[in-house]
Symmetry: C2
Subunit: 204 residues, 2 copies
DNA sequence: AAATTATTTAAACATTTGTTTAGTTTTAAA
DNA sequence: TTTAAAACTAAACAAATGTTTAAATAATTT
């Protein structure tokens, strides 16, 4: 890993934990083990570094679901199941960065950044919407509110994992409980969301 | 409104929009139309002001749902309906502050503050959990995952209203669309969540 | 009315902030 | 091996940060 990437990785960690304005370039430099000036040397400014961080982390996960949507071998409800599993898998493997994106969305700062992030988050939402829409068109799903059903799927996953503390408190676990090292939780969240969608979507 | 309250109100606005570290005491002072020194005079420090802000805004909404839980005149599913309506009502009337709380929860800063906030948010979650638990005990609800079902209710509402931009994009609306002035949206979100819970909770 | 307390102010304080400079070392090309 | 570009450093920069000071004004009490 070169110095440029080291700075990005350190930034991801610190921005995720402490927010953009809560993190100083000197902290980043210290975490990365480089001179402070290297940040401006490589990225121009702290804000441009932030842009690169988001770009760097999201560039490799474009359009993963497009094949799933067009797959004709599995049923619509199985597509929903698979998508739920994938969304949870992603969330668990990238929890802190995901929080960073959502946090930035909730701020009324850097409109350009927010616009870029909303496009990224929208990809997931659109995939879910498409599958539900197809299911309705095919007559296997009830005519639910498509947009809000997608919101429910992503909202459930995101809300539970707002933070370790939130997750612990919601589930009534002790302080030591670490959501993201917990395979059972992944399964539990997956099962709940799938069951929820089945009863919501499938005709009786 | 005295000067102390003016400072708090200005802080709510700015903290909500720009985050705690994204807001300077001089901005707050300017917004409130007071001298910078008044912040430290009244509150001691910026961080203590933040604590007072949270205290001030949450003090008057304690235990609103306790009577609902114990109400024996209405059915369990009607309780769920009512609770959903109330949660949405609250969210719409206090959208920015709610975002502030959730944003703070997602940061790994100020553990004491986070602990206080999680207690506040937990009140809502616990109320939903209690009603669902009662419904299961009474045999009118299916034996769903109680904690995660509560998460779904709150997660759906919160996720849709992460920001104006998010809401617009999710719903496919134009930039001018303002979620929090929109009565239709309230109804739509309410209808979706109720329907979702009915199909999820009620026995077939 | 005088004395006391509370409120308000402008200015200064010490740090910290992001960024730049000017110079050095390292790397790679000619 | 010389030359030129890239990578890196310590130090300084100006601006912004939260906070405090000391003095002035306003309000309240005696």
């Amino acid at each position: 890993m070169n110095k440029r990437e080291t700075i990005i990785e350190s930034s991801i960690k610190l921005f995720s934990n402490k927010g953009f304005e809560g993190t100083s370039v000197r902290e980043i430099a210290a975490e990365a083990g480089v001179n402070v000036a290297m940040i401006n040397y490589y990225f121009g400014s702290k804000e441009k570094l932030f842009e690169k961080v988001v770009e760097y982390r999201t560039s490799f996960l474009r359009g993963v679901f497009s094949e799933l949507v067009n797959n004709k071998k599995i049923s619509q409800i199985e597509k929903v199941d698979f998508m739920i599993e994938q969304l949870i898998e992603r969330k668990f493997s990238d929890e802190k960065f995901s929080r960073l994106l959502h946090r930035e969305m909730s701020l009324e700062l850097r409109p350009q950044m927010r616009s870029a992030i909303s496009s990224i988050l929208l990809r997931n939402i659109d995939s879910v919407k498409t599958i539900i829409r197809d299911g309705i068109k095919d007559g296997v799903f009830q005519s639910v509110d498509i947009e809000l059903t997608a919101t429910t799927v992503l909202g459930t996953i995101h809300y539970l994992l707002t933070s370790d503390t939130m997750c612990q408190k919601i589930l009534g676990k002790k302080e030591g409980f670490s959501p993201f090292q917990n395979k059972q939780l992944k399964k539990r969240l997956s099962d709940h969301t799938k069951q929820l969608m089945r009863s919501h979507l499938l005709k009786k």
